[in-house]
């Protein structure tokens, strides 16, 4: 039997409850392998070697103190970086798209994020 490829996702969020819930939802429903970190510096260290198919990152962390590391991360992963913002912000979206990454806002429910991720990782089957 051929082993199914399991896409790897790096989840960067400082809110532990939400982040745990997300990890569970992604692994269960979406069958992804999830690595969860709580700050930009750790995310940056994890990102070496191009080991992820998608990086989900909270906008507050992306544009926080370690914005230069975030920029480097986008430089490497470009549109495989999806910035998720708790609040709808056109200004943040403009910054994110200009850098070459992707932006989505307010996907509060893990189920919505799973849908989003699924459509990103399998564009031919996505919505």
């Amino acid at each position: 039997m051929v082993k199914r490829y399991v896409p790897r996702i790096l989840l960067v969020d400082s809110e532990p409850n939400w982040s745990q819930e997300m990890e569970a939802a992604l692994e269960e429903h979406g069958r992804y392998e999830v690595e969860r970190v709580a700050d930009m510096d750790t995310a940056f260290d994890f990102s070496y070697g191009d080991g992820f198919d998608l990086i989900l990152i909270n906008a507050a962390l992306a544009f926080g103190d370690s914005v230069s590391k975030f920029e480097k991360l986008v430089h490497q992963y470009s549109d495989r970086v999806l910035v998720i913002s708790d609040v709808r912000s056109i200004t943040t979206a403009i910054k994110v798209f200009k850098m070459g990454a992707d932006y989505a806002d307010k996907p509060f429910e893990p189920r919505r994020v799973v849908e989003l991720v699924t459509s990103r990782l399998q564009p031919e089957h996505g919505t």
């Binding site: 056109i90 979206a93 403009i94 798209f97 200009k98 070459g100 932006y103």
Partner: protein, 284 residues
């Protein structure tokens, strides 16, 4: 700035008169040559008439239509021209989708809000800086395109080398032929690079007999370059004897690109006024 270089040209598009005027007035008029358009169609026409460096366009060009994003669609016209022009979208009705369409889908230079999200007035300084940055980028891109490969035909009508190859060889266009067309055209224009920089009008005719003709006029120097390209066996003799006598530069690429040789000849037409130029274009 080089004395031969023109001021960057900016096209400002907004259906609302007060914004159109404000966006003009906010730029230092001595640094740019500014034109305006009030609708999509007018903007499209102006973009094809002249090569602009910067397009500043309102997103919603029909105010009654909430979903209108013609300002962003206009970027397709711009990218077809492939002349390095940069676009800035300005809007009072931003959406995430529109931002994505402009910045990711169409590679706009930037996206500016008429009403900043955090409140306060229109960001005048940011607007000026963006136009300045966009103009610099366009000037650099244009220099590069003229140095590395010739871009004027593209400016003419959004034609690509492939498009020109199709005119010359109708059905038989292979990558080899396209490469040949590119080589011949670049070599034909190479001696005229200094002139090409100041060129502000390009005109192209697709004649019968599969010959492409480019007439590029430089306002700075009052000169034009005329180029005729075709298959090698076609006569490429100049038509406009009253302007010039002999060919300056002839290039051939025989048989290297499939069965067809490609030939081209270029002429410098001295002392050509814009009236002369326009008259020639009219006549054809």
């Amino acid at each position: 700035m080089d004395i031969n270089e023109e001021r960057p040209r900016v096209l400002i598009v907004d259906d609302q008169k007060n914004w159109r005027e404000a966006l003009c007035d906010m730029l230092e008029s001595d640094q740019y040559e500014i034109e305006t358009a009030a609708s999509y169609d007018e903007a499209k026409r102006k973009l094809r008439e002249r090569a602009f460096h910067v397009l500043v366009s309102d997103q919603r060009l029909v105010d009654a239509d909430d979903d209108n994003i013609q300002g962003i669609i206009l970027l397709d016209e711009l990218s077809e021209l492939k002349d390095g022009a940069q676009a800035i979208i300005v809007t009072g009705y931003p959406t995430i989708e529109a931002v994505k369409k402009a910045l990711r889908g169409r590679d706009a230079y930037d996206y500016l809000l008429k009403r900043p999200e955090e409140g306060g007035p229109f960001k005048l300084r940011e607007y000026r800086d963006l136009v300045k940055g966009a103009a610099q980028k366009a000037v650099e891109a244009r220099k590069k395109s003229i140095t590395l490969g010739f871009s004027l035909p593209a400016i003419a009508r959004g034609l690509t080398y492939e498009g020109i190859a199709k005119v010359l060889f109708s059905a038989e266009v292979t990558p080899n032929v396209v490469e040949g067309v590119r080589n011949v055209l670049n070599r034909l224009f190479f001696p005229f690079q200094p002139l090409a920089r100041g060129m502000s009008r390009v005109w192209l005719s697709e004649e019968e007999g599969q010959i492409c003709e480019f007439l590029c006029w430089s306002r700075n120097q009052g000169k034009a370059v005329l180029i005729r390209m075709g298959q090698e066996h076609k006569s490429l003799e100049i038509k406009w004897r009253r302007f010039t006598e002999k060919a300056q530069y002839v290039v051939k690429e025989s048989g290297r690109h499939g069965a067809n040789g490609i030939a081209g000849v270029s002429y410098v037409v001295d002392r050509m006024t814009f009236e002369d130029f326009a008259e020639q274009v009219e006549e054809d």
